[in-house]
């Protein structure tokens, strides 16, 4: 991995931290916040690609677990692993990976629709599949209740996916990180 990759990874981990300072809304039933950080997960995958995007999230997760208070509301430390958000928190990894992998697949012809699909597949489908079982595992809430409670995230996450798609498409035109990589590999 080049120094450049490392800097990009650190940059998106920092972006996650900044997004954590936006005010977050706690969803009562399941005690998981609506947060801007899920937007960061989609962007990491969609802009950096699967490998670097996942590593950026991994770096952020390690930093949080090491104790830095970077989750919304200033939370951090190992206690996160015992909280109701643990499924989402760890699910950010496969979420970024899937968004990144799909974006790479669509790459030379990426457009708003395909970018949106990639963001939804990773940042909603895969993420909720990790997050909902997490809630019921930690709190003992029945799966169905956890799923119902998580419906509250859907509108926000759709907006974030739309926003992420627009940003990913625009950035990929102006500063094509993923394309350069595949082009280099081919050439």
């Amino acid at each position: 991995m080049s120094t450049r990759d490392i800097v990009f990874i650190a940059l998106f981990a920092a972006l996650m931290a900044v997004l954590g300072t936006f005010p977050a809304l706690q969803v009562p039933l399941i005690n998981v916040p609506i947060t801007a950080q899920s937007l960061g997960v989609m962007l990491a995958g969609g802009i950096l690609g699967a490998r670097r995007g996942t590593l950026a999230i991994l770096l952020f997760i390690v930093i949080v677990l090491a104790g830095l208070p970077l989750l919304s509301g200033g939370r951090g430390g190992l206690a996160v692993l015992a909280g109701p958000t643990v499924g989402f928190f760890l699910g950010w990894l496969p979420a970024a990976f899937v968004t990144g992998a799909l974006t790479e697949r669509f790459m030379p012809k990426l457009n708003f629709v395909t970018a949106f699909l990639a963001a939804v597949a990773g940042g909603i489908a895969v993420l909720y599949a990790c997050g909902i079982p997490g809630i019921s595992l930690v709190t003992g809430t029945p799966l169905l209740t956890a799923a119902k409670g998580s419906l509250a995230f859907i509108p926000g996450d759709l907006v974030k996916a739309g926003l992420a798609a627009a940003i990913i498409v625009t950035v990929s035109k102006a500063y094509p990180l993923i394309e350069t990589r595949t082009a280099r590999r081919a050439g």
Binding site: T3, I6, L11, V18, I63, G67, L68, L78, A174
Partner: protein
């Protein structure tokens, strides 16, 4: 607020080894969950306030950390009050507040480069699967350094756009922010290579 994750100083806490501070934080966190006792959590909370004073960070620091965390703490307490009663509510609320203060304290008194070294040291075993721990440490230090940079670049851009008659558009903020910081990252990578 996030710009001062780390506050320089010369207190004993500042000088204590990063590894010890992180281990202490992890131990206290785990301990408070394994022994769910209200007096113990209150003691931890008081100790955290005392340590903040001893580190010379002042009551403003404590107030700011708590204010940021207050909504979460109150909500966690309220949920517990509803389902499990007042005692549990107090336990959950105080314990969370104590841990948040301690986490903020460790971060504020530990140089990013020291945390980076500790993480690099912890990851030594991963060498066998091809991970270079010093690179991970570097990534860590850079991430902490980028947080205030991102915040100030975002402020510059927001200002430039307000001047163009645009008050609130996340898209219009995010695109230049991403482009500018990606370009910056490219140059930083060069600068790091030039110094290694």
């Amino acid at each position: 607020m996030i710009a001062d994750l780390y506050r320089p100083g010369a207190s004993r806490l500042h000088r204590a080894p990063a590894g010890a501070k992180l281990a202490g934080l992890a131990a206290i966190g785990t301990g408070l969950f394994m022994v769910p006792s209200l007096p113990l959590s209150c003691a931890a909370f008081a100790a955290a306030l005392g340590a903040i004073a001893a580190a010379g960070l002042g009551w403003r620091f404590a107030a700011r950390s708590l204010r940021a965390a207050l909504p979460v703490v109150l909500l966690v307490a309220a949920v517990q009050a509803w389902f499990a009663g007042w005692h549990e509510a107090a336990l959950y609320g105080v314990r969370l507040a104590a841990l948040l203060l301690l986490a903020g304290l460790v971060t504020a008194t530990t140089r990013p480069s020291a945390i980076a070294e500790t993480i690099a040291w912890l990851l030594q075993p991963l060498r066998i699967i091809g991970v270079d721990p010093t690179r991970v440490g570097l990534a860590f230090g850079l991430a902490v350094r980028f947080v205030p940079v991102l915040a100030s670049v975002a402020a510059d851009i927001r200002e430039a756009q307000a001047a163009r008659g645009l008050d609130r558009s996340v898209f219009a903020l995010a695109v230049p922010l991403t482009l500018r910081t990606l370009r910056m990252a490219d140059e930083i990578a060069e600068a790091i290579d030039a110094r290694s």
